[in-house]
């Protein structure tokens, strides 16, 4: 049996900013090659903290107190910085949430897309240019030549998000971490972007960790899902199982809280206080 692509085991962390408050509590999850896993939970649940741990960019004020993050059998948490640098961007890459700030405003798209190709994959400028063009075509940008020569502010939010997706897949990483990549976008643009991520993921056989708070997005793009509350895994499993047959009262309550245009009389039920009390008791929060 070959090891999973990614295996997080017993990961615990505290926030030194909030007086040692636990922010991840014994989190375990694994990801196979080519799998798309959703990471959901309310604000502050620890989704981005897990994403940052995968990318080796945990802030100094977050302290890991236990556990391992194995990528292809090697622990990212204890790996020498040099080896970590070789992996980040090349084997594991990020699609960030905010397309407005994620690109360098002072550099043309071409420079930002080709840096990694030249410096890390050893492509010539010509080869890198051709590859960048191809990538922009793959993310359905109609006029890739023009976009290569554009500065970020000359592109719409949806276009910028496409460029960031192209950049995330540029070096053919094995794992892409997408931290709420569509939260800032219109539903119509969101759908196009979700389709792109799915298509790129399929074409390149990439595994994806997809951070979102929207169970609808999970249903459409994730093979499996992990639900967090206060840094603790509350429920995990295949998407179909979790959505059709939620086991935990919190998962059920979340399903009942979201309004649905197709069922105007359902939804809009806040998570009952009793469920929060049950969660706190289970997790051991006073």
């Amino acid at each position: 049996m070959t090891a999973s692509l990614l295996s997080i085991s017993g990961l615990s962390a505290v926030s030194d900013r909030e007086g040692g408050m636990p922010i991840l509590r014994d989190v375990s999850l694994s990801l196979e090659r080519g799998e798309v896993r959703g990471l959901v939970g309310e604000s502050g649940a620890g989704k981005s903290t897990i994403a940052k741990a995968l990318l080796g960019i945990l802030p100094r004020t977050v302290r890991v107190t236990g556990g391992t993050v194995q990528f292809e059998g090697r622990d990212l948490l204890t790996m020498p910085a040099r080896e970590l640098r070789d992996i980040m961007g090349a084997q594991i890459s990020l699609i960030p949430q905010d397309p407005q700030t994620a690109l360098n405003p002072g550099r043309r798209i071409e420079a930002q897309l080709t840096d990694g190709l030249r410096l890390r994959r050893g492509l010539s400028s010509r080869e890198a240019h051709a590859r960048a063009l191809k990538l922009l075509e793959e993310v359905q940008i109609r006029d890739p030549q023009r976009v290569l020569h554009a500065f970020p502010h000359e592109l719409s939010g949806g276009m910028r998000q496409r460029v960031l997706i192209a950049a995330a897949f540029a070096l053919e990483p094995k794992l892409v971490v997408a931290d709420e990549p569509t939260t800032a976008l219109d539903v119509t643009v969101q759908k196009q972007i979700l389709r792109l991520i799915r298509d790129m993921q399929k074409v390149h056989g990439t595994a994806v960790i997809f951070v979102t708070h929207d169970l609808g997005v999970v249903a459409q793009i994730c093979d499996s899902v992990t639900l967090l509350y206060a840094g603790k895994v509350i429920e995990a499993g295949a998407t179909a199982d979790v959505l059709q047959n939620p086991k935990h009262a919190y998962t059920k309550a979340l399903m009942a809280a979201g309004p649905r245009y197709d069922r105007p009389d359902a939804g809009l039920e806040p998570v009952p206080q009793a469920v929060f009390e049950q969660l706190r008791a289970e997790i051991g929060i006073r």
């Binding site: 309310e42 604000s43 939010g157 976008l185 219109d186 539903v187 119509t188 643009v189 969101q190 759908k191 979700l194 389709r195 799915r198 708070h213 929207d214 169970l215 609808g216 997005v217 999970v218 249903a219 459409q220 793009i221 998407t239 179909a240 959505l243 059709q244 309550a253 979340l254 399903m255 809280a257 979201g258 309004p259 649905r260 245009y261 197709d262 105007p264 939804g267 809009l268 039920e269 806040p270 998570v271």
Partner: protein
């Protein structure tokens, strides 16, 4: 027509002077007393501009606006002022509209005194205590500053502040888009309850059609500064007449597995 509280016909708004960009191209809208009307559309379609025009916060270059039977299109600010109490607004980011240096007590008490709705501080405090209970916030909130509250709590303060002034009309612009689903459900339920209790008319701006369906009686679908479709929610959602409305509906991911949802549907999406 006395039944309509707020009506606008042929509204046009141009940003940036006479040679600027026209972003509303002749919008007609009518909001009856006690009715909640949704305004939906993509980013940049003109939702916020329409809301601000109805409230006379941006000038219109054509069209007319009537509030409670009276034309207010070009009413001078001095004559608008007595109407301002009756027309309230709740924003997406309550932080931006709540003075960060003031306590919640001051934020809620001051407008009551300013508009003469309470004779003295004691009376104002009593009203504030009552509304706080209505929006299910502990009295301890009163001594905090806005940044010491959670997003959902701040949004409830925004609602409380609007409701305290006993308005006839409230404009709510994307007030739940930053909140998680449970908090969103709480805030929407509260707003719905209040609008019934106080007989409020509301314009509810959102890009989320599921939210609109949950709280609105009628909906206006805006596109490129024009009304693309309008009607009772039950009608429009069951039977959208415009392809554009259909595309907006079809773009909402529902929390159930729908193989093929992501596959391109030939033709219609290109219209978006």
């Amino acid at each position: 027509m006395a039944e309509n509280l707020l009506t606008a016909t042929g509204l046009e708004v141009i940003y940036g002077g006479r040679r600027g960009v026209k972003v509303l191209h002749g919008v007609d809208i009518a909001i009856r007393r006690g009715e909640t009307v949704g305004i939906v559309g993509e980013s940049g379609s003109g939702k916020t501009t329409l809301g601000r025009a109805l409230l006379r916060l941006v000038d219109v270059s054509a069209g007319s606006i009537h509030f409670d039977g009276r034309e207010i299109t070009h009413l001078p600010e001095a004559e608008m002022r007595p109407l301002r109490r009756r027309i309230q607004m709740i924003f997406q980011d309550p932080m931006a509209s709540l003075n960060p240096r003031h306590t919640i007590r001051r934020i809620l008490v001051e407008p009551l005194l300013l508009h003469g709705l309470a004779k003295n501080a004691a009376e104002a405090e009593a009203r504030v205590a009552k509304i706080l209970e209505r929006v299910t916030l502990p009295a301890a909130c009163l001594d905090r500053n806005p940044h010491e509250l959670s997003g959902g709590q701040r949004q409830r303060i925004g609602i409380a502040r609007a409701a305290l002034l006993e308005p006839d009309f409230v404009l709510a612009d994307e007030i739940v888009s930053g909140l998680d689903v449970s908090t969103q459900a709480q805030v929407l339920k509260l707003l719905k309850g209040l609008s019934v209790d106080l007989g409020l008319a509301m314009a509810f701006i959102s890009h989320d059609l599921s939210v609109i369906r949950a709280v609105c009686d009628r909906v206006y679908v805006l596109r490129f500064g024009k009304v693309e479709e309008e009607g009772a929610c039950a009608e429009v959602f069951a039977n959208p007449k415009s392809d554009y409305t259909r595309i907006l509906l079809d773009a909402i991911p529902l929390p159930e597995i729908n193989p093929g949802w992501l596959d391109p549907k030939t033709g219609i999406e290109d219209a978006a």
